[in-house]
Symmetry: C2
Subunit: 496 residues, 2 copies
């Protein structure tokens, strides 16, 4: 099942190219051939960047080349932004130049649903392979590789690097998964949108990611697979190594009709997908938010198998209603909210007055007021309780911003971050949106919390569901595979 | 069932007081007695505002009074921020002064779960009634009445006035419902958080709102009712007049335990509530986001009974994945995505190139590029199709902001607003969050869209679910009550 050294090196070439040429590069800002150039240039890509266009026009001050063969140094990776009709000649040129991978923004293949589209796509794959090239796409946005500062599509930036990799059959969704994920604190080491997946399909990328030492968690947006038997085999191998979270698009009849037009994927009934994913030990999610939330939860809470939450509301005031609805949200996500030890309540009553507070889990500590030491004292007492596996805290940033300076927030944030280090149990924050006026400040505070490694979810429902999925994964899905005698081969899942 | 003229006037007194006294007002910024003063003062409340405290200290430059009787003019409404032990004497004073309603921020009653708490609460109600007063709370934040610029709690502002009223047993939730609602464009005319509801319960407020001519849609966060038979009777009367959307907190076992500590509400099984709400023709929702989303949808799309959506993605680029997942989201919410007429496709092909677009509903019009006239041309053609009841459009503000100036957005926003007027079918926008850097701009654009009367939801799931509930309400819930021979008495629901 493992990739050969040579196969592995091919994928390393795709994700870590030392030089990139954009074919169809232009100074016309409305064109995608400018968008890629500007984006890679702005992100300070660590390799060499070459614009290629018929008149050898320079782009962004970089010298232009009329063809690949005119480029003085080697070219690892080519981004293709020219019409489908011209690509065969280009592939031959890539072969001559010794290019390793070719990424096709270019569309106009099988997703058109025409015989000509299918024929041309087949020809492109054949031509690429006969020239020793691997093909990303066609009809895709391509590779994001922040370690070498290669940005995604036209975004022009790279984010923090970490343990998460994502594959996506949709370029737009990969974009949104990346941007939503980054703002929530998901640290990606690579993302690829592979469109029609005509040479390298989801299965191929998954095979690589199973072996990629930088990747601990794999997320996917998928519309279909070319070879379902092989997909299941590879996915089963992957989940023995690392968690695999899948958002399958087109599970409804109307959605399935679309996948065919979008990436030429054929539909299977929703139940078949759910069964297959369960069988291979993957975790199925149903929306983009679910996908990013779950990846964030995996990254933040590690091998969490707990089922007992302590929820704290009313930090900086007014938590009664939240103590009720957080209990509903956490229960629905499968968590229990255990009674705390008498000694814990004794510690709490020292700082929390009885009126206006609720000293029962979920705790409303409104009465404690604005004293940070007292708040941290409460959190410490609760987190130390042996009945508690994890702390989930409502942080009403949008409201407390009218009472606290940004300096006070900074101090609170770093206190929370060091508290998190100290307690050795996961801490998850919930911060909901407020009015637009104060939301700019809320975003800034959340950004700092995220940078400090504290996960922030917008609702208790999303927080509890995300963490609940992680706990479910390690207890039930991974637990089951152990029972079935499929001994995991990685220390990541072999422990405990 | 209808309130007497006198009863109705009592409620008008609560929501439209001409003068307010804050008892326990102080210049100490950390105290709630300052918070209320500052908030009402900052919002430019249209009536007279009096601080009351033992040493007659002025607050915010307003002269202080040692007691209510020292205040020169009449006092309609009193906000109580003093400990529970002192309130009986205050209520006698209120009676003497001719106060009409008293709002108790003060807690320390039955929610403590002690015999003394129940006893004191009973005494307070008795004392209030014997002095001709209506009591809001205790243990609540109270009234929001933007028509007279009376803000909610300590928020210090009022929002746009409109057809929505909300009652909430939780002060914190009322706050969040208000702030989330305002940013989404919900226009409230009044909100009340009523805490323990010991004199006036949810049922009483609902009875008033059924008759309140300013209110067309009623939302509620409820934990329990004092008299369930009367609640059902009143709720049935209310839903004959206007839609009633209910978020019941404490439906899980863990949540129900909390309601008892929070507002002294006793639990009923979730199924009992669901059945009761269905029986009275109310619409049940399961979270705060659901509540605000649904109220917004009611407000924006009116008596919408449609089931056929056209979804447009790829406006300003990259909509393939969204065309798939929006189809999933809309199908799951009960909508169909009908094929459009051949003449519609013919119009579209004039401006949308086939490669990179999907001319099938949900439509991905990526290929149309950045030309606003062409985009509007597409939307117009789609909206005019007789198979389409409503248009749902993915507006990728977070991304297009890197290509468009704020001026261009302003022009696009107003074009969309006038397009919405012209087509005479509902238009709903979906704008998802991007990276933090650009989100400040996204929020600004969304704020302008909302101000132009265009609803913006953060995901297709939330948009489709909200509008789906409205359509379901007018078709199924309201339709059923007509079949049952319960002739609606209001033109709002009696039409069509």
């Amino acid at each position: 099942m493992a990739l050969s050294h040579e196969q592995f090196a091919q994928f390393e070439g795709i994700f870590y190219p030392r030089s990139v040429a954009v074919v169809g590069a232009t100074a016309d800002r409305r064109k995608i051939g400018y968008g890629y150039m500007y984006s890679i240039y702005s992100a300070n890509y660590q390799g060499k960047l070459y614009p290629v266009n018929p008149r050898a026009e320079p782009v962004l001050g970089l010298p232009g080349y009329a063809s690949l063969k005119d480029i003085p140094g080697p070219v690892d990776h080519v981004i293709v932004c020219i019409p489908a009709s011209n690509v065969i000649a280009l592939l031959k040129e890539c072969g001559t130049k010794g290019v390793k991978s070719v990424q096709f923004f270019t569309a106009g293949f099988r997703e058109l649903g025409t015989e000509e589209g299918w024929r041309l796509e087949g020809e492109v794959v054949k031509e690429a392979r006969s020239n020793g090239l691997r093909l990303i796409g066609p009809n895709c946005i391509g590779v994001y590789s922040p370690e070498i500062r290669l940005p995604y599509g036209v975004t022009g930036f790279v984010g923090e690097v970490g343990p998460v990799a994502v594959i996506s059959q949709s370029g737009g969704h990969a974009d949104s998964i990346l941007e939503l994920g980054l703002r929530m604190g998901v640290r990606f080491n690579k993302i690829v949108s592979y469109g029609n997946g005509s040479d390298l399909d989801s299965t191929d990328y998954l095979e690589y990611l199973a072996q990629d030492p930088r990747t601990q968690y794999v997320g996917a947006y998928m519309e279909g697979v070319n070879d379902s038997r092989r997909f299941m085999q590879v996915a089963r191998g992957l989940t023995r190594e690392k968690p695999f979270v899948v958002w399958k698009g087109g599970l409804t009849e109307a959605g399935a009709r679309q996948t065919n037009s979008h990436t030429g994927s054929l539909a299977s009934p929703a139940g078949v997908w759910a069964g297959a994913l369960r069988q291979v030990g993957a975790l199925q999610v149903m929306s983009m938010e679910d996908l990013d939330d779950t990846l964030l939860a995996f990254q933040q809470v590690g091998r969490f198998t707990g089922t007992r939450l302590a929820v704290v509301t009313g930090m900086t005031g007014g938590g009664g209603g939240q103590s009720v609805s957080s209990a509903d949200a956490c229960s629905r996500a499968g968590f229990s909210l255990p009674a705390l030890a008498p000694s814990t309540y004794a510690k709490l009553t020292e700082v929390v007055p009885p009126v206006g507070s609720i000293l029962r889990n979920p705790l409303d500590i409104s009465g404690v007021g604005w004293n940070l030491d007292n708040i941290l004292g409460c959190l410490e007492a609760i987190a130390s309780d042996p009945a508690v596996d994890m702390l989930m805290v409502h942080h009403r940033i949008y409201r407390s911003h009218s009472f606290m300076s940004h300096e006070a927030f900074r101090s609170m944030n770093s206190s929370l971050a060091s508290f998190r280090q100290r307690i050795g149990k996961p801490l998850v924050l919930v911060s909901n949106a407020g009015v637009l006026d104060t939301d700019v400040q809320r975003l800034a505070v959340e950004e700092e919390l995220v940078a400090d490694g504290l996960p922030v979810f917008p609702t208790f429902e999303r927080a509890a569901n995300a963490v609940g999925r992680v706990s479910h994964y390690w207890r039930d899905i991974h637990g089951r595979s152990i029972e079935m005698g499929q001994t995991p081969s990685s220390p990541l899942v072999g422990e405990g």
